[in-house]
Every structure is written in structure tokens, then in C-alpha cells.
């Protein structure tokens, strides 16, 4: 990082400080004035425009032992999602539906803020948000997770691990969940005489004596996939896809989730110093719509890359 010299006004909130300081020290000591000076030029410290998100990559199938998995990187934020299917008896009220269990973990490797004695505060919050969004968006038709009506159905355990926490955690987590469901393949299954259901791997397919319950491995058909976007607001500025530093400095974030049909699935603005007028909300919705197109293309590309293999 080169040392440049800041001129007058560098003291910002603290008057009487010497005018010449190293940029790094200024950034640490007076984060808000540092950002303000960038916002006046409509740019951010990492040279992004206010409404552009970081580079996003999706890679399907990194975990070979899981039935569906995905690794998503938005800038430096990295999420690894994996789905494991197990057989269970469905409830009596919903005999032909399976179920989904979502768990989000922030292990200590992901951030210096997370320590073994003190788990991250946001982890259970994001966990719940994810579950709500996945359920309410109706992306997965639970009836597709049924095996034998009334007797056996699939329960999908979705585990998401944050490997690097650098802002927009919910965005990356939801994207990885969506990508993992896109990659998910339901394994072949057969039933023993006692009624025990077990999975059959493809090598055993020819040798199995028992009748297969489902004839072929299939993927879920997902409808109306939800895509998220987190923005932070500061006075009248809206910064899209914040890094961890921006999230702590600006303090007010809004997360919007829209689906591919253009319906609003979830709005999440958990308080905060900044207040959002309706214009700002509409702006955020427009930005989210644009982001959805980007994410859709990226997801489709990664699916086709995987199918080529």
C-alpha cells in the first residue's frame, strides 16, 4: 500500500490533528470520513462503483461425498454448502412431502472476530433467514422429496460453512444454498423385505436383488429461484454488496430477496442508524433486479460447465 498524503480536511471528526497522515492510519482512525471522501467521488476504496457488486463465482460439486454441493465466492467471502439426503417417515399431516433442514456455521477460521468461546452473533440469524427464504420462496417443491407416500420421504440436511467472512454473508449463503439445490441429485433407493429403505450406489445398481423404488437418479425441478442482494445505506448513498469493513462502518444494511419471476420474497432491514425512505427502497429494488440477472447468468454458466464434464 503506497503512502499518499491527505490534505486539509483529513482530520474529519477530530479537529486539530496534523494534516498529513498515512492513508492506512487515517482509514483505521477515522473510517467514516475516509469513506465520505470516497463517496463524494462516487467510488469505493476497492475502486468499485457504488452500485456494482464484487466478482462472483459458483462452482458445483466440490464435496464428492455429498448428494449436492456448491462453493460460492463473492469477492473474498467464501461459502461451502452441502446437502445430504436421508430417509425418514413423513409426518401424518403431510404424508407426501419431504423436509429441509438448514444449518449455517461460522467456524473460527472465517474471521478474526469469531473465537471458540464466543460464536458469531450473526450465525443463527443468517441460519433462520435462510430457512425462511427457502421455505417461503417455494423454490423446492417438497412433494418431489417424497419416496413412498405415507411411509418414506427424504429429509435434506443443508449445511453451509462460511470459510471466509468478508461482508454480504447472507447473499453468499443463499446463493450457495440455491446452487447446491441445483446440483442435487436424488440417489437411487430400494426397500428390503422388512421395509428398511437404503440407498443404492450406481455400482451396485446391476447387482441389487431388490426392486428400485425410483428408476433413475433425478434432479429437483426448481421453480422461482430466489436471489439476494445486500446494500448498506449511509445518508443518501446506497452501496451495493458491502465488504465487512463497509458493513461495520455504515451500520445500516438492507437485504432484499427477489425471485426469478420478479416477486419480492423477503425484505430485511434490522434497524440501524440510517433510515430508508420509499425512494431508497425503490432504488434498492431496482439494483436487486439487475443483480438477479447477473446471478442467473453466473448460475446457468456454472451448471452448463458442470454438465460438460
Amino acid at each position: 500500500m503506497e503512502t499518499t498524503q491527505t490534505t486539509e480536511g483529513g482530520g474529519g471528526g477530530a479537529t486539530g490533528i496534523a494534516a498529513q497522515m498515512e492513508v492506512e492510519a487515517f482509514r483505521r482512525l477515522f473510517p467514516l470520513p475516509f469513506y465520505k471522501r470516497h463517496l463524494l467521488e462516487s467510488v469505493r476504496p476497492d475502486a468499485r462503483a457504488l452500485d456494482s457488486a464484487r466478482d462472483t463465482t459458483i462452482s458445483l460439486g466440490p464435496v464428492a461425498s455429498a448428494d449436492g454441493s456448491a462453493l460460492v465466492k463473492i469477492g473474498e467471502t467464501t461459502m461451502l454448502a452441502a446437502i445430504k439426503l436421508e430417509v425418514m417417515t413423513p409426518s401424518k399431516e403431510r404424508p407426501d412431502e419431504g423436509s429441509i433442514v438448514v444449518e449455517f456455521y461460522m467456524p473460527p477460521i472465517c474471521s478474526p472476530m469469531v473465537r471458540p468461546g464466543r460464536p458469531a452473533e450473526v450465525a443463527p440469524v443468517i441460519s433462520k433467514q435462510l430457512l425462511d427464504v427457502i421455505r417461503s420462496s417455494g423454490m423446492v417443491n417438497l412433494k418431489e422429496l417424497c419416496l413412498i407416500s405415507g411411509k418414506a420421504s427424504w429429509i435434506a440436511y443443508l449445511d453451509i460453512y462460511c470459510l471466509n467472512a468478508d461482508g454480504s454473508l447472507f447473499d453468499a449463503a443463499l446463493l450457495s444454498a440455491v446452487a447446491a439445490f441445483t446440483h442435487l441429485q436424488i440417489p437411487l433407493v430400494s426397500v428390503t423385505e422388512e421395509g428398511r429403505v437404503f440407498t443404492v450406489s450406481s455400482e451396485q445398481e446391476e447387482k441389487t436383488k431388490f426392486e428400485l423404488v425410483n428408476k433413475e437418479k433425478r434432479k429437483l425441478s426448481l421453480s422461482s429461484i430466489p436471489f439476494p442482494l445486500t446494500c448498506v445505506i449511509h445518508e443518501d448513498y446506497i452501496l451495493v454488496d458491502p465488504t465487512a469493513e463497509e458493513e461495520t462502518v455504515m451500520e445500516t444494511s438492507i437485504t432484499l430477496v427477489l425471485d426469478t419471476l420478479g416477486n419480492l420474497v423477503s425484505i430485511y432491514k434490522p434497524g440501524g442508524v440510517g433510515l430508508a425512505s420509499t425512494e431508497i427502497m425503490k432504488e434498492c429494488i431496482t439494483r436487486t433486479k439487475r443483480r438477479i440477472q447477473e446471478l442467473k447468468t453466473i448460475l446457468e454458466e456454472s451448471v452448463s460447465v458442470m454438465e460438460v464434464d
Binding site: V63, A64, A82, Y105, I109, P116, Y157, D159, L163, N164
Partner: protein, 243 residues
């Protein structure tokens, strides 16, 4: 079950008895950490992240004012093993492995150079296929090197076993759960000293010596590989600095 095919002499995954699995390592995978590394031994994949030296967080734990405090936590991802039913951390096995890794790394970190500070080593297992302990130690070594923490020597670890009257190097999960002995060795590579030695199941003494020698040779091969990776990494950093 024949773990070593009597006709071809190959193991169930096609390796020869003294052949190690494919190694792959990458430094600097977690940008937020002071040092991090991803280490793969065959299908076992592990990420280690090092935070430190930093301020001691729990004053009560700080026993010795002249040395740095080393802390380690080992946890396995839910999907890392074949079946999902497991408590990721806090169960006995994870606590034991955390202790083992901490004590192994403590042997090589020059703690006296960093008094009143704390070094945290976090290891996360993403895929487990036998030899997770060894992969974790190797990954921790790379992560500590990436963090620039002064060390006496690099620590590498490898496991070996004895099945069907043959000593086998680097057991995978199937061979490990076969019920034969499993010897895990950790050495300080250049100094040629053993810092970690664990064995379970019964083994006659002379066979034990053969198996342990095999494991030590495996460790030396891994040390060779780790040195290459660190050299590549340094060259890259040099390039980026523009010198």
C-alpha cells in the same frame, strides 16, 4: 477382505503398499486470517487458519508471561464423513485431536519470542477419508509459515499401518477401519526428531519398528513437498512485490 491384492500387490485404491496418496496444498486461502492453507491428502481435505500473534483473550488462561499461548481447535464439517450424524466439535475425538495438534505445533513454534501473546490455530475438515490428524498438522505447518510465525522447523505428519502382513503407508478410511494397527508419526523434518507418535491396536515390536520407519519416510516426503510449495509461494510474493 483383502486390503492388499495377493496377485498384483496393489491396495484397494490401486496404490502400492509404500505409496502415499496424491498431495495438494494451497497457501493463503482465507484472506481474513493471518495465515491459512488448504491441504489435501487423497480425498482428505482440510483448511487451517492461523490468527496471531494477537492479544491474549482470556487472561485466566495465560499461565506463563514469558511465552506465547498456543490454542488449537479442530472441527469437522457435517458433510465431511459418509454419514452425517455427528457433533462437529466438542465431542471427545475432536477435543483429543485439538490437544494433539496443539502440543505438536507447540514443539516447533518459538514461543519465547512472543511473550504475552496468543496464537490461534483453527483447523476445519471439509472431507475426511482417513489421516485427518496428519493432514491437519501439515496444513497447520503451512498456515503458520504463511502467517510468518517463527518456527524451529517444519512439522510434518503421516500415518502407516499393517494389514495382510504388509506395512502400508498413508491409510485411507477403509484401511483405517479394518481393525489393524494405525501408527501416526509427526516429525521435525530437518532435525529428524519425532514430536508426535500415536498407535492403537496390537503390534509386535519389530513390526512396529518397520511401520514407524515407513511413516517417518512418508513424513520426509511430505516435508519435501511442503518446502516446494513454500518456495513457490515466496517466489510469487516476490514477483508481486516487484523485486
Amino acid at each position: 477382505m483383502e486390503y492388499v491384492n495377493p496377485l498384483t500387490g496393489l491396495r484397494i485404491d490401486g496404490r502400492r503398499p509404500t505409496e502415499m496418496r496424491h498431495l495438494k496444498a494451497q497457501i493463503g486461502v482465507v484472506s481474513k486470517a493471518d495465515g491459512s492453507a488448504l491441504f489435501e491428502m487423497g480425498n482428505t481435505r482440510v483448511i487451517a487458519a492461523v490468527y496471531g500473534p494477537r492479544e491474549v483473550q482470556n487472561r485466566g488462561q495465560q499461565m506463563n508471561n514469558n511465552e506465547a499461548l498456543v490454542r488449537c481447535e479442530y472441527s469437522m464439517a457435517n458433510f465431511s464423513t459418509g454419514d452425517r450424524a455427528r457433533k462437529p466439535k466438542g465431542d471427545r475425538r475432536s477435543t483429543e485431536i485439538s490437544l494433539v495438534i496443539r502440543q505438536t505445533m507447540e514443539a516447533c513454534i518459538l514461543t519465547k519470542l512472543m511473550p504475552r501473546s496468543q496464537i490461534d490455530i483453527f483447523v476445519q475438515v471439509l472431507q475426511a477419508d482417513g489421516g485427518t490428524r496428519s493432514a491437519c498438522i501439515n496444513a497447520a505447518t503451512l498456515a503458520l509459515a504463511d502467517a510468518g510465525i517463527p518456527m524451529r522447523d517444519i512439522v510434518t505428519s503421516c500415518s502407516a499401518g499393517y494389514l495382510c502382513t504388509m506395512p502400508l503407508l498413508d491409510l485411507n478410511y477403509a484401511e483405517d477401519s479394518a481393525g489393524g494397527p494405525d501408527v501416526t508419526v509427526g516429525i521435525l523434518a530437518k532435525m529428524d526428531k519425532v514430536t508426535l507418535l500415536q498407535m492403537d491396536a496390537k503390534l509386535p515390536l519389530d513390526t512396529f519398528e518397520t511401520v514407524m520407519q515407513l511413516a517417518i519416510e512418508g513424513c520426509k516426503a511430505i516435508a519435501q513437498y511442503i518446502r516446494e510449495i513454500m518456495l513457490q509461494n515466496t517466489k510469487q510474493l516476490e514477483c508481486r512485490r516487484g523485486s
